[in-house]
Symmetry: C2
Subunit: 342 residues, 2 copies
Amino acid sequence: MRRRREAAVARVTIREVAARVGVSTATVSRALSGAKRVSPAVVEQVRQAAEELGYSANGIASALRRSRTDTVGMVVPSITNPFFTSLVEGVEHALQDSGRQLFLCSSRSDPALEAQRLRSLVARQVDGIVISPVHGTESTGAVSWAAGELPLVQVDRYVTGVESDWVGVDDDAALRLLLEHLAERGVRTAAFVSSELTSSSTELRVAGFQEHSARLGIGLAPGGMLLGEYSIEWGREAMQRLLAGPSLPDAVTCADDLIALGVLQTCAAGGVRVPDDLLVTGFDDIPFAALSDPPLTTVRQPQVEIAAEAVRLLADAERAGERPLSRLALQPSLVVRASTGG
Amino acid sequence: MRRRREAAVARVTIREVAARVGVSTATVSRALSGAKRVSPAVVEQVRQAAEELGYSANGIASALRRSRTDTVGMVVPSITNPFFTSLVEGVEHALQDSGRQLFLCSSRSDPALEAQRLRSLVARQVDGIVISPVHGTESTGAVSWAAGELPLVQVDRYVTGVESDWVGVDDDAALRLLLEHLAERGVRTAAFVSSELTSSSTELRVAGFQEHSARLGIGLAPGGMLLGEYSIEWGREAMQRLLAGPSLPDAVTCADDLIALGVLQTCAAGGVRVPDDLLVTGFDDIPFAALSDPPLTTVRQPQVEIAAEAVRLLADAERAGERPLSRLALQPSLVVRASTGG
DNA sequence: ATGAAAGCGCTAACAA
DNA sequence: TTGTTAGCGCTTTCAT
């Protein structure tokens, strides 16, 4: 319980370093940045003086002058969903090589909060934005405004009508993989538990489910299209509704792993044996998908590639003037585990 | 595939708004911030002009002038560990009311990266830092330097010898709860699977295990003190080592839920029945602790309170000159599930 | 190789 | 209530 830091000791500036060495601030600036056209001797003196004085650069002043912050903003609907955390980690990693930092924001699935985050990032002059928009239509205004202010890349989900690149997974291919797998396992009827149709990927997953289940002769169970949100709780509730119905389908296909984990929990609690009585599938392959009871069959998104590609596109966008927009749908892979008898 | 955003259209500044309305930049600044001592008519005109011109403030310039960024930095060892994500979400939420934003960084359990993040946050002039330091000793230098530059609060873990506040859980009380529960269940021998003794909370958990197990007459199984890292993988590996030993203890106590989930996975794979053959406990109560096979008995950390308290301490620190340091160890609660026969 | 000087866009004294 | 003025700390011409 001793004293705290002296309140607001004025921070050391470049001027004091310059004064100490007896050179101009310009020289100090040059010496401390890429040491160009400065004599090695001076560089060394400056380094030492900076060290002695405890100088550390004021990034704000530098940013104002250079109109660059070496910072990228990222906005995701949730930071507690492991899928997005993996994506964030991938982006942060990809950024690291270029010495840039990530400014992470959560929109908490709220378009109003998302708009606020975007305004804030633009105000803070980040050099670019990576966003997974909350909502297919309600996010449009804010996202397209931001895209007009600075380079912006959409990942995973997207809003249409915005001039920006996009990288994500091929949702149609993912549902093809899942349903072909279920068909092979002899599934004739299935339910689909998803979020409300408020985002691009949700729509594509539902559409993919409908198309491929029809093609493979898998019928939609009565009351089997359940739309809620991407959460464990919704998975639990949706499964309760299915249990309350007249009969169970052969399989429950879920639009993400969180939903599927909730479904599995309710199955366990309700005495429904998976995979004996019911097959269950997820989507994303989050780390916990392998640990559930039973382990979850799912499709893996290539998160690392998605993240790397997003950063690459952002770099392009910074340079670019005119250039065609990219839309990259990367391929998912099927991961078979015990929840489908694998 | 249409045209992109026009490259670098110079952004609208306050001067252009001022010119449009026919007032000074100072008036525009005043009108746009807290509308103090500006005539309502002018405020309205300025608002409108700003709107028409698509003006959005340059936060960097503002920050330079005001020496405030309204931004708080947070550094955590991992953003894929749900415990830390919950903490982050709590801090972000607590900050929201005061209109500040969170700048989140992951140190990836690497002291060097952590030091870099801290330098970066200080350079970016965040108003304060919330950090859960990676390492009990290797983090000291960087953390105490940062604490000297600006207000800093440690959460969850801490390094000693740094003049900063700390909020976290009462690790000793947590181990008392866990071990008393195990003793009631008839446990006579236990193993402890933890991370290396590199952080304060790890040390306290190991110490708590030793003290309370001794007090309750629970013996440490031979080779039963297993130190690795906070991850599912390490949990798997540690359990494999226990399985390779001559005999199993009655219980495996884990220093966090990720480790415990890994332990459970190996038990399932190796035919060890939990809780019949072995009791397993975790620590943190992450959302996935309820979904494992079997559901995990653990202690819940009061994350929301920890986060709220951290933000409150930061606010204090900003105001404060001299003031005693706070060390708040909040109380955990036992959550009994099937992994101990609950 | 170095220095002088001019701002980046904004805000806060201080005047009026 | 409003304007004038002086910077915040840094980088970058343009000279020398």
